[in-house]
């Protein structure tokens, strides 16, 4: 795996870019490098945004950009991948048709029963490749090909918060209520992003998630715990 290309990106930022493919091995490099920079360049860095095959380091005002690019170019990769996450967060998700109002549409387009769709969707683990689009929105690893479903031609004005959807090859969770064109197949009662917390998102880029099917009754129970602030998201370690 080659070294990343290091480029100036505006007057106060540096882009590090690996080979242009979506793969866990490349992403391990991105996440490992981001962690390394955060630990070692704390005095220079404002923040780092990692994504699928690249990261951007936003620098503090007083940092000499050309010098910093030189420092980044000299970093030896591969960065120790041992620090990468092996956490898979279990996201309770209710696939009841009252929440998953497009489950039937996905069933028609995939020619699979709703039960099979739920099984395929909830058995996979999805790596978190990045966060963006909306605060707390997770860019997740690819979905089983059998349930790829094109986005809806008409954008729904209000997709409820916590809705779990399929848009093309991707699956994702709406962290807030928002307009959206994805096919909604379920809903999670958990908070994807809580701005009143010091750490607003429970997830880190490089972790994985898995959707855990729950009943309507369990949905209500978890929602109550979330609202009372005593719900703790569970995870498994993939060792």
């Amino acid at each position: 795996m080659g070294s990343p290309i290091v480029r100036k990106y505006g007057s106060h930022a540096v882009l590090m870019e690996w080979e242009s493919i979506i793969s866990p091995a490349i992403h391990d490099q991105v996440v490992g490098t981001a962690e390394f920079l955060k630990e070692n360049h704390v005095d220079w860095i404002l923040e780092i945004v990692p994504s699928y095959h690249s990261l951007v380091v936003y620098l503090k005002e007083n940092v000499d950009l050309e010098r910093y690019i030189g420092i980044c170019q000299a970093i030896k990769v591969p960065i120790n991948s041992g620090i990468n996450s092996n956490k898979t967060w279990l996201v309770p998700t209710c696939y009841d048709s009252s929440f998953g109002y497009d489950l039937n549409a996905v069933s028609t387009s995939s020619e699979l029963s709703p039960e099979t769709i739920i099984k395929l969707h909830s058995e996979a683990q999805y790596r978190i490749y990045g966060m963006g689009f909306l605060p707390g929105f997770l860019y997740l690893g690819v979905l089983d090909e059998q349930i790829h479903t094109p986005r809806k031609s008409v954008v729904k004005q209000l997709v409820p918060k916590g809705s779990v959807g399929i848009g093309g090859k991707q699956t994702g969770i709406y962290p807030q209520k928002s307009p959206g064109g994805w096919n909604v197949i379920g809903r999670t009662p958990i908070e994807l992003f809580n701005p009143t917390l010091k750490n607003p998102s429970p997830f880190s880029v490089g972790d994985s998630i898995q959707f855990t099917p729950i009943s309507l009754e369990e949905y209500d129970e978890v929602l109550t715990e979330v609202q009372n602030g005593n719900y703790e998201l569970k995870f498994v370690s993939n060792d």
């Binding site: 994504s51 095959h53 690249s54």
Partner: protein, 281 residues
């Protein structure tokens, strides 16, 4: 406190921005024209990061229920104190019960109203900036109340201070190469630097769309980080200049990056202005 009698077209509270949460998808936000916002705060001796009001295209009307010392800077418009037009002054002592109103912007798009000590609003994730998903606020509404520290008002400041920056309606917007610049051909570059662009009405704090399309064969890229000032080229040949509320990750070619000063300049650019990108080397 101050009552918002008319909110204007789009008014919000801003500061220098919300930093540290971009990796979670939180936009940095902040004043669209930071040099004007900084000037408004400077006139009162405020910190650069003091929260102020940003008004867009059509100004707001405020009723002061306490006396205050305010300053304004940025776009030009008619300013009235109890229906009396104020000219050549940008720092004012305001008495209790006075109405301050700002008209339609005549030169520039964004006007900043600062108050001594800054507006006191809830700080969420280190910033006062309005952003719906963060603090539930997107814009000011009629009848809402703005708070400030009344004990700091009516200080000895130069009331006849008129220093203001001229809105720069220069057609040249200085840019640097963006991350996908190297994928452009010489013909593409020629198109991008020779075409005169105008700003679409479909523009907001997230991004300014440009009306004129270019015939350039661009592809979608794997979603990658973007920042305010990034010029995106869509598959259809449309250009979008990302502004302060921009998303943190995007999937289009990032052809140029505006300089920090040219972001301010573009924010204030007239929709009639024919813009050209000037590539710095």
């Amino acid at each position: 406190m101050i009552e918002v009698i008319r909110p204007g077209q789009y008014s919000s509270i801003q500061d220098l921005g919300r930093f540290g949460y971009r990796s979670m998808g939180v936009p940095i936000s902040g004043s669209m024209d930071q040099s004007s916002a900084e000037l408004a705060n400077q006139l009162l001796g405020n910190e650069a990061n003091a929260a102020l009001v940003e008004m867009t295209y059509v100004g707001a009307t405020f009723l002061f229920q306490e006396c205050a010392t305010i300053a304004f800077a940025g776009a030009r418009c008619e300013v009235k104190l109890n229906n009396e037009i104020i000219e050549d002054r940008s720092v004012l002592n305001i008495e209790v019960g006075t109405t301050l109103s700002f008209g339609a912007m005549k030169d520039g798009n964004f006007l900043y109203l600062a108050i001594i000590g800054g507006f006191k609003t809830e700080m969420v994730l280190g910033s006062a900036c309005y952003y719906e998903a963060i603090n539930g606020m997107s814009r000011m509404t009629k009848g809402m109340t703005l708070f400030f520290d009344e004990t700091l008002q009516k200080q000895e400041i130069k009331l006849n201070e008129t220093r203001s920056i001229r809105i720069n309606q220069n057609q040249y917007i200085e840019v640097e190469k963006g991350p996908e610049f190297h994928l452009l051909t010489n013909e593409d570059l020629q198109l991008l630097t020779e075409t005169e662009f105008t700003i679409s009405p479909q523009s907001n704090r997230m991004g300014f769309r440009l009306n004129e399309q270019v015939e350039i064969d661009s592809k979608e890229i794997i979603s990658s980080p973007v920042q305010p000032g990034t010029v995106q080229l869509t598959k259809g040949g449309q250009l979008i200049v990302l502004m302060r509320d921009a998303q943190t990750v995007g999937g289009y070619f990032r052809v140029f990056q505006l300089t920090p000063e040219s972001i301010n300049q573009l924010a204030q650019a007239s929709r009639k202005l024919r813009i050209k990108f000037l590539l710095l080397d």
